[in-house]
């Protein structure tokens, strides 16, 4: 499903990704963890064809992204849902309209839009709030809507970049629960996060990154948090931060 071979990406001569290689199989659920600046977001952007790698090969759903014409990228993205840390919901549109936009973009017939939007909102438990605008919802609810939008076109793969970064532990738990359910129905899920507590609980594959390199891959929750990541509970919010110089 996702194959990366010796992928390197530079920003102004500094490597953001350095010789990254891994494979995520169809139907797999994997986390990418690491401290801020480890290259998690760059990695997801490259998989999503927002950025181009400078070296290496990336094969997504059997297609080598280096050989992909710019006009083909939208069609590749239609098979990949993306969930952002800041939700990226259109604030002046209702929840229903936000979902409908994703359906319109792929040319869904008008007659099907309402039904499909309702179904996907029901899946995430937000069907009763479909007429509200995002600012009327809590962070957790907004992220659920964002997950619904990512899923509405039934993608084969779901990518998420720090999806619980702005959420309280309870909401984070609910969102990860959604990811687990989606994965159980066959969708490949790749989540970049530094929410170590949740990662540990989920018992899934963990790809650990540091300074643009993969430092550990494959262990299911048995992996220890990176020495430079510390987790602690603060004010009910799961806070993860870098401890400089900690062994």
């Amino acid at each position: 499903m996702i194959q990366l071979y010796r992928v390197t990406k530079y920003y102004e001569g500094v490597p953001a990704l350095n010789d990254v290689s891994f494979i995520v199989n169809k139907g797999e659920f994997a986390f990418v963890t690491g401290p801020s600046g480890a290259g998690k977001t760059t990695l997801l952007k490259i998989i999503f064809c927002v950025e181009r790698a400078d070296e290496g090969q990336i094969i997504i759903q059997g297609q080598n992204t280096f050989r992909l014409k710019p006009s083909s990228i939208p069609y590749l993205r239609r098979n990949m849902g993306f969930v952002f840390q800041d939700y990226k919901l259109l604030l002046h549109k209702s929840i229903f309209e936000n979902i409908a936009l994703a359906l319109k973009v792929v040319g869904t017939p008008y007659g099907d839009i309402e039904r499909r939007a309702y179904q996907v909102l029901k899946k995430v438990g937000m069907e009763n709030k479909r007429h509200l605008v995002p600012p009327k919802l809590s962070g957790g609810e907004q992220q659920k809507v964002a997950v619904a939008r990512a899923l509405v076109n039934e993608p084969q793969m779901l990518l998420a970049d720090e999806p619980t970064g702005n959420l309280d532990p309870e909401s984070a738990h609910e969102v990860f629960g959604l990811f687990r359910d989606i994965n159980m129905k066959g969708t490949t899920v790749l989540v970049a996060t530094h929410d170590w507590e949740t990662v540990k609980k989920m018992q899934r594959r963990i790809i650990t990154m540091e300074r643009g390199m993969v430092t550990d891959d494959g262990s299911k929750g048995a992996a220890k948090p990176h020495p430079r990541i510390s987790t602690k509970q603060s004010g009910g919010v799961n806070e993860t931060r870098l401890i400089e110089g900690e062994p």
Partner: protein, 295 residues
Amino acid sequence: MRGYGPFYFLGEAFRGLRANSVVNLLAVGTISMAMLIVGFFLIVFFHIQSAVSTMSDRLEMSVYLKEGLTQHEKDFLLYRLKTEPGVKKVVFLSKAEALAEFTKELKGQETLIQGLGENPLPDSYELNFDRHYAESRRLEALAKKISSYPGVEDVTYGKQGAEILSGLYKLLTYGGLSLAVLLGISVVFIISNSVRLALYSRGQEIELMQWIGATRSFIQGPFLIEGTFLAMLGSALAIGILAALYYSLPTDVMLFLSRMNGLDFLPPSVVTYMIVGSGLLGLIGGMISVNKFLE
């Protein structure tokens, strides 16, 4: 492949136009000012062109014949003159007819002619030309050519008049073209700015659409329609203002203008070209901004 038809894009375009109504109204106003200048210039152009055409029709060339030519030689010369390209009409003017005309022109001073004794004027052929051939360089070349024909004594034509007419034609054509190009560029610039503002105001939505798999044409369609519509609206407004101004001219001026060349307001075909042309410029302006934004 599934997709949305023109109604979806039209709906989205009008939603965008409504959302940025102030900016769009300003754009329409500015475009209509530019198109007002174009329209005014076109009215002047058509009136002057028509006047120039009338003058071209009156442009004549006189081919004076040598004394003592036989009828056969005159007929042969007539045949050669008639077959020259651009020659519309050839009329034979005998010595006697030429003198009669000359006498008429010298009304009140006929004694001058009487003093000449024998009729000194030669037989001649008077040539009229098609409008497009009434051009000084062509006429000069033709005069030179005809001078070399056997039996031709001299060739004269309104050289100065022809040169002035040619100059006027050139000035109108090149001046008009330059002005049209300049104003065309300004329309493209105005539309491209207006569409750019619309793009920035919906930047978040466009970025999101790219992330969720929207094709380039799906994103740019409504903006291109907006650009085209704004330019066409500006142009139509300018034509409306121009027509109102034209028809509010005093009756005497109107009568003078229409008697001069039989021209009313801009012909419908020109009005259509103006609106469609500005629509195309609007489309180009929109494309420039959208492409730059999506890059």
